[in-house]
């Protein structure tokens, strides 16, 4: 069957004339659609959704709004415009021209980086597939779907790289991205956080705030890559990722806003009976999502990360703005470690601490959001503050994984952990309470009881716009 892929797939990679790529996508695209229909958003395949579609990389092109059903969405392939004479900005090839083909010696490492990044994209679509049923407003339902189709596009972006630059192995890897499924006991996704369910909208907002923010930092590190197609692809992805984090940041803010209103109105911390979510429950959800997201950064000291950096494959966040030699062979970094039963900092070679450095940048960025949320509380006259738990809290990966650490950063015994766990992490009761609030609201402009309306609509439309035609 001949399909005009260039028309169906908006792109700036000259798809129509690339036989190798066309052939690869001809085989992959039907598998992708089958996957979307099977594991993408449940039940809304025939509804028109007011979505943004990228049709070009320029100012005009990347944000085209209009109604479309999701299976008909035009998942495109875009690379940011090339920078003329771009040079490698770190590692041992520093100063040399960037690569437009994969160097043989880095084939494996690059493929691995792309496969791991690619694996997260469809994973979150799978994790969020049931949320449409309980959307707290049409506005939120639309945002969910926007996030979903763009995660789908990010998968396309990674698959494009695999197909275009990695030959037969790349095609197999691209197929494997559709074979692993979130939470599938047989073929789970590669990273832990992407196998956790996203059962409710509070989780969704925190996921998009924290876990998609990990994505932001990983993508930023890849935009520095000496492999130019990867750098340019991820630059473009960051524009969309920003929207996902906006959904998370404003989503949490709106929950907090509503909670503050109910607390004031009823003059109590426990607003569950009034259909709101207590701050303590929000804090526990925050603790959970933040801690499992920290796990995504990998081992705190990592020879893989060191190799990626030395080879020029993956840099640091804002690499070129940093004032150092961009080789890191002789510098050290103060990294947190557990020594003699307490948390301390030790000097480690910077190049092996890159995961932790990226994590530090991530943590600082997360704190900004928490500060904004706390302003909502203080403006409402509420003294309780939300906080980020210590980085060692509830970790499954890295140096803290062997210890129980309180949110304050104190190592505690198994007994104490068991005793206090319910104060720090969502309990089954908390989860079922939040689940009980998840009743769909489908009247345009209306919001669920636990959620404040957004400040503005999408693309200058009013808040009561019909974002999804039901």
């Amino acid at each position: 069957m001949k399909v005009d892929y260039a028309a169906k797939i908006p792109n700036n990679v000259n798809l129509a004339e690339d036989r190798q790529l066309t052939r690869a996508l001809e085989s992959w695209q039907p598998k992708y659609l089958a996957w979307w229909n099977q594991l993408g958003p449940k039940d809304f395949a025939n509804n028109e959704v007011f979505l943004r579609t990228a049709v070009d990389v320029g100012q005009e092109g990347w944000a085209n709004f209009g109604y479309v059903t999701m299976p008909e969405y035009r998942w495109g392939i875009f690379l940011a415009e090339p920078k003329p004479d771009r040079r490698i900005s770190f590692g041992e090839h520093i100063g040399q021209p960037v690569w437009n083909e994969v160097p043989g010696e880095y084939r494996f490492d690059l493929r691995r980086l792309i496969a791991v990044q690619g694996d997260t994209e469809p994973a979150s679509v799978e994790q969020q597939r049931h949320l449409g049923k309980t959307a707290p407003s049409l506005y939120d339902l639309r945002n969910l779907f926007q996030v979903n189709v763009e995660e789908g596009r990010h998968l396309w972006a990674m698959v494009y790289l695999l197909h275009r630059y990695f030959g037969k192995d790349g095609r197999e890897e691209a197929d494997a991205l559709l074979e692993r499924h979130s939470g599938d006991p047989d073929r789970p996704r590669l990273l832990g956080a992407f196998n956790e369910p996203t059962p409710d909208w509070l989780s969704f907002y925190l996921f998009t705030y924290f876990t998609d923010r990990d994505g932001k930092f990983q993508l930023h590190a890849l935009t520095e890559s000496a492999f130019d197609p990867l750098a340019r692809t991820t630059q473009f992805m960051l524009k969309e990722e920003a929207h996902h984090m906006f959904v998370g940041a404003t989503g949490v803010a709106r929950v907090i806003q509503r909670t503050a209103e109910l607390m004031k109105e009823h003059d109590t911390d426990d607003i569950r009976q009034y259909g709101g979510i207590n701050l303590s429950i929000i804090q526990k959800y925050l603790n959970f999502h933040y801690s499992i997201t920290l796990d995504l950064f990998g081992g705190d000291t990592s020879s893989n990360a060191a190799n990626y950096y030395a080879s020029g494959l993956k840099g640091r966040y804002h690499e070129s703005e940093r004032q150092d030699d961009h080789r890191l062979l002789n510098s050290t970094y103060k990294a947190e470690a557990v020594t003699d039963g307490h948390i301390d900092s030790i000097e480690v070679p910077t190049i092996t601490a890159l995961n932790q450095i990226l994590q530090d940048d991530f943590i600082a960025d997360c704190q900004n959001g928490v500060d904004r949320w706390n302003r909502i509380l203080s403006e409402a006259g509420i003294t309780t503050k939300l906080y980020l738990p210590h980085r060692g809290f509830n970790r499954q990966v890295g140096i803290f994984a062997d210890y129980h650490i309180t949110p304050e950063g104190v190592i505690c015994s198994d007994e104490e952990w068991e005793l206090k766990k319910s104060e720090w992490l969502p309990t089954p009761d908390d989860r079922s309470f939040v689940a009980s609030l998840m009743v769909p609201v489908r009247e345009p402009g209306k919001m669920a009881s636990w959620l404040a309306p957004p400040a503005t609509g999408i693309a200058n439309k009013p808040i009561d716009y019909i974002y999804v035609k039901l």
């Binding site: 691995r112 494997a176 006991p185 081992g299 950096y309």
Partner: protein
């Protein structure tokens, strides 16, 4: 100039001495060693403490041994904070010598202590990773001698897995529930059956060449093409593919025997293990015996076990290893053998000899010549031999024979000059004669030069003899698959059959010389001088040339997977280990994980 380093007293802390010198050192969590490193002068830097190979499941730090009826499970759960030496962490189920010492112990224990176990499952207790092979930081930071010794020991341990299956019918199944990289996959290759989880991420891989600039030297390359008979071009792809091979393709290429989805994995492993156990000939209803603990006393120049001792002469870099027979021959049937258990002489002796060889290999690298002696009444050994070979089909006797076989093989791959001294008071009978046949040369004492006068002690019964038993005609094969006599008389196989006529007869030096059983028959006048000369001569030669020469001469005849592993794979590996492209300052092994890319000399040699 050879740099003979005498151990300072504080450096000689083994077990007994350890306790004597450092009574306050707690033994439940041993202090790690310093890895022997390359010092600038090229001399050997010694461990601050000797390495012991004795352990017990209660003290395992890295393996969990559980037994459920006929199936045992050995789950690898490496404690990353318990390396045997300082300076590295055992991440991702990577192993070092300490991990492998426990594995060897477990393999031996399963054979002796659990006759009922018909199948052993090797698995990982860690999610997502089966085993990521030998620890790279450990390899990169240790000196050549330690690397070679480490690889040799791990190779022997893998061989013992195959021997357990072949000789004892205790079959091994490998449950690869997560990624098996390098030595991790090589461990799997040593088992009878490999099940890989098919989850689109777990892979089996041999990434040594592309990642580390060395070989999969723990049998990997050999077993791929010789044992599993993977096509050579596919093996070439596998051995250069860093990311390894997953699921269907791994099955298609013959890298694993079965692939199973994650949810069905443990039930499948159980099912296959049960099937393997059911097909095992091991007895279901007998009790095992406890594995002997060799318990050496360690002194600056001696290591002493009840039946075996080594006495070191540092000036000639020689150890005299003396194996003693017991006073009386002990058990005469399987019941009494089982009752004697670990104290039955052949078992006690071999456990001590095996431990001693390992001890000398790792702790006395400069002692290059072993003089092999025996002491005791030949009649006593004769009687034990008769019992042993009469009941060779008994499960326990069979296990003892197997351990003797692998210990003799270990002796032959120890990179030491081996010289047997069949002198006054010796008892080279059967198994002990086999120790002599394992040697590069055999010196035997005749009477006085006139050939008639008895020895100075005046008793003709003290005239040294050699006695052949069934031990010398089949069960104790070398790595090349031949008996030592078959290897010795490669040109004349009929001669071996003729020798069978001499079974259990005392053969004196003159006759032994005529039969080609000894290298030199010397009389008392010449003896001391000749022995002194050969020892001094040996000590003056290049140790490297000797090791290489002896290895080439010992294993004549056919090739087997084992001879290829020790003779070809290891030899190449040891060459690669010496090359700057692996271990030079910018070599791949040294630079792995530092963030600095290796830089190679591009000369093909």
């Amino acid at each position: 100039m050879l740099d003979v380093v005498h151990l300072p007293a504080r450096g000689r802390r083994g077990t007994l001495v350890d306790t004597l010198l450092a009574p306050n050192v707690s033994t439940d969590r041993p202090e790690p060693h310093d890895l022997p490193v390359e010092s600038p002068s090229g001399s050997v830097t010694l461990l601050d403490r000797s390495i012991s190979f004795r352990t017990h499941p209660e003290r395992y730090r890295h393996w969990k041994l559980t037994i459920d009826g006929r199936v045992a499970t050995l789950a690898l759960d490496v404690d990353e904070d318990s390396p045997i030496a300082r300076g590295y962490e055992l991440k991702l189920n990577s192993y070092d010598l300490g991990v492998d010492i426990e594995l060897r112990d477990a393999i031996l224990r399963l054979r002796f202590e659990h006759p009922e176990v018909g199948a052993v499952v090797i698995a990982s207790a860690k999610d997502k990773v089966f085993c990521s092979g030998a620890n790279i930081q450990m390899l990169a930071s240790s000196n050549h001698s330690f690397k070679v010794n480490f690889c040799k020991f791990t190779n022997e341990t893998r061989n013992q897995i195959e021997e357990a299956s072949h000789y004892s019918g205790q079959h091994y199944l490998c449950a690869v529930g997560g990624t098996a990289a390098g030595g991790g996959y090589e461990l799997a290759l040593a088992t009878d059956y490999i099940i890989l989880v098919d989850d689109s991420s777990a892979a089996v891989s041999l990434p040594e060449v592309p990642l580390l600039g060395v070989l999969p030297g723990t049998g990997g390359l050999t077993r791929l093409v010789d044992k599993r008979k993977v096509r050579r071009d596919i093996a070439d792809v596998v051995a250069t593919k860093i990311e390894g091979t997953r699921g269907r393709k791994a099955l298609e290429w013959g890298l694993v025997d079965e692939i199973v989805p994650k949810s069905a994995f443990s039930s499948k492993v159980h099912e296959v293990a049960t099937r393997l156990a059911d097909s095992s000939p091991r007895p279901k209803d007998v009790r095992g015996i406890s594995l002997p603990d060799p318990e050496p006393e360690i002194y600056p120049n001696s290591v002493i076990y009840p039946y075996v001792r080594a006495d070191i002469d540092r000036s000639s870099r020689t150890a005299t290893i003396t194996i003693s027979a017991p006073k009386d021959s002990g058990p005469v049937d399987p019941e009494s053998i089982a009752e004697a258990g670990p104290s039955w002489w052949p078992l006690a002796m071999v456990s001590q000899l095996d431990d001693l060889i390992l001890w000398l290999r790792f702790n006395e690298a400069t002692i290059g010549t072993f003089l092999m002696k025996t002491r005791g009444e030949p009649a006593v050994v004769d009687s034990i031999e008769r019992t042993m070979w009469t009941y060779r089909d008994n499960w326990l006797v069979n296990e003892v024979i197997s351990w003797i076989r692998s210990t003799l093989r270990r002796l032959e791959t120890s990179s030491r000059s081996l010289i047997a001294l069949v002198d006054e008071g010796s008892c080279f009978v059967g198994t002990l004669a086999e120790v002599a046949f394992a040697c590069d040369r055999i010196y035997m004492l005749t009477g006085l030069s006139d050939g008639e006068t008895p020895l100075s002690s005046g008793h003709s019964s003290d005239l040294p003899t050699i006695r052949l038993t069934p031990a010398n005609f089949g069960p104790l094969t070398m790595d090349n698959g031949l008996t030592r006599l078959e290897s010795r008389f490669l040109k004349d196989p009929d001669h071996v059959s003729e020798l069978a006529e001499y079974m259990y007869k005392a053969i004196d030096a003159v006759e032994a010389d005529e039969l080609g059983l000894v290298t030199f028959a010397l009389d008392e006048i010449d003896w001391d001088d000749e022995i002194r000369l050969v020892v001094e001569e040996r000590a003056s030669f290049s140790p490297d040339a000797l090791t290489a020469m002896e290895a080439n001469l010992r294993f004549c005849g056919p090739e087997t997977v084992t001879t290829k592993i020790f003779g070809r794979l290891s030899a190449w590996q040891n060459w690669v280990f010496q090359r700057p492209n692996a271990t030079g300052p910018q070599g791949a092994l040294r630079s792995y994980g530092t963030g600095i890319r290796p830089s190679f000399e591009h000369i093909r040699t």
